[in-house]
Symmetry: C2
Subunit: 327 residues, 2 copies
């Protein structure tokens, strides 16, 4: 895993992935006590950075292997990314999803051309089902984070941050990254190490699900007791990945964590000041930038806003935190 | 008023205005029955395209005149744009606002460094108050649309659309523009005429406030009976402008109009599929793209999403139109 793989992935993504903007607002700067820049990956295709890793991984396959198709397990952002990237490559895509996933998520995945195979979360094992289908049809499994080409794709976010920081004359800053399995965080860390050595990637997680922060302290993979019980579903994973953790351990600064309410409030501020839609898991880095000022160094902080796939009721709950004054 | 003024304005705005992205989603394409591209000006500084015209007008003043300061009447997007652009130029800014404007709008305008002068909407005349202050202090009035340098600034939206359309190989399309006084619409029309002759600017207004559409039919300035009674406050003006209308009359295609409910539903789709926040007046062009397919020509339509300054309760009302299925 090295910077050349990220640069090569960037070449494959050129003309496909959106170059997302780095946004900011004087109101957020005031709230945070320093300049805050937000990398708006919620504006990426399918509403999250996951499209980058998905497209990178699919485009890196040989034409022969790719033609057989790909498979992913996910009911979330990775599934959408794989479905769209697979559709754009004109290949079969199978997504294994729990049958109790929201109906619209099932419909959306199918609408992007994927074959959705439902399983019973209580009685069946998705790895077994997926493994059998993959073997039978010769499909390639694309993991959500523990894959070099997925990490390389997510790392293109870091290349863009490094380039924009250079253009803006920012040579020192913490770069806060919403962190689940660590695909985005490790990819961004690699890109910054190569292209912007004064920028330091730091994972942000929900309070109580800070497996990566604890792993960075102990220098070994620590696990969460559970992966249920936070609104930030997009970043709830059992533990950092086997491939992603060594990279983060070598390159990242200390982790931060924020509460669900802080994530919701960050969503409300992003609505009001940036006019972007964030999901709770995609707002944890911005929440840390706004509400953990004493844990951050420097006069500029960069936060990756990693996704915006949020249900209307949860978004309405975030808006209600603005109170009456919301113009 | 010509293309060179727009190009010169673009030079002054370079490094200040954001180059906003052109977004899209396969789900919106399906809904509209053709490819829909959305110019996301809600992501512009202060949440609307108005910053462009404000910065253009202020930066076009001679240093001597500018140093005295500027004045605007507005409780909306124009005020925010003038306040920020004035602050960036380090000059005094006076905004004349009704004292019953939402408290947070007054506070936001002050937070951007402007002096807010309140007046009683029922008993006082803002032009008289503003005129007296301007004369006394030597301030330059920056009108919201009927000003060549304001039109030139808004026209930079059209330059970017023309450039992006060229890059995407789009040589024929309707370009739908949210239209109040016509500053944005006329500026975009001028830019398209010069740089993308197959692209046709068309104003979009709320049903019942279609002064511009009617004026384009009669070839003279028609007025709205009232400017109250629509949620789309950002595009409610009594009539197209004296400067903007002749340009629109010469260059624009027929106007379209949409209901408040259609604007709200377009906001909901923009939330769900694009992850951007639109205000009702900023969503009318997207609403026309989605819900007036038979009035639009070609296999691609471009809609300018002009602003996102919306109160949380109105946004929550838009979200409620998605029903239960909102993942």
């Amino acid at each position: 895993m090295n910077i050349d793989m990220i640069r090569t992935a960037a070449g494959r993504l050129d003309g496909h992935a959106r170059r997302t903007p780095l946004l900011g607002s004087p109101f957020l700067d005031r709230l945070a006590g320093r300049r805050v820049l937000i990398k708006a990956e919620c504006l990426q295709h399918t509403g999250s950075f996951k499209y980058r890793g998905a497209f990178s991984a699919i485009s890196a396959l040989t034409a022969e292997v790719r033609a057989n198709g790909v498979l992913a397990y996910s009911s979330g952002n990775h599934a959408q990314g794989i479905a769209l990237a697979g559709q754009q490559h004109g290949i079969p895509v199978v997504i294994v999803m729990p049958s109790d996933a929201p109906r619209l998520k099932l419909a959306n995945t199918r609408a992007l051309g994927a074959e959705v195979i439902e399983y019973d979360r209580g009685r069946e094992n998705r790895e077994e089902i997926g493994g059998a289908i993959a073997a039978e049809r010769g499909l390639t499994l694309i993991p959500p984070y523990d894959s070099p080409q997925v990490i390389a794709g997510q790392g293109t976010v870091g290349l863009e941050i490094a380039e924009d920081a250079r253009r803006l004359g920012i040579d020192r800053a913490d770069v806060l990254v919403c962190c689940g399995g660590g695909g985005l965080t490790s990819g961004v860390a690699l890109a910054l190490q190569a292209g912007a050595t004064g920028l330091c990637a730091r994972p942000v997680e929900p309070v109580g699900f800070d497996d990566t922060a604890r792993s960075l302290i102990s220098h070994r993979i620590e696990r969460n007791a559970t992966t249920a019980g936070s609104l930030c579903d997009a970043v709830l994973t059992p533990a950092p990945g086997e491939l992603t953790f060594p990279i983060m351990d070598r390159l990242c600064g200390p982790g931060l964590s924020v509460t669900d309410d802080e994530a919701l409030l960050a969503m409300a501020h992003a609505f009001q000041r940036l006019k972007i839609v964030l999901e709770p898991g995609g707002a944890v880095a911005l929440a840390a930038a706004l509400f953990r000022p004493s844990e951050i160094a420097g006069d500029t902080v960069i936060a990756v806003a990693s996704g915006g796939n949020v249900d209307a009721p949860v978004f309405a709950r975030a808006l209600s935190m603005l109170g009456g004054d919301s113009a």
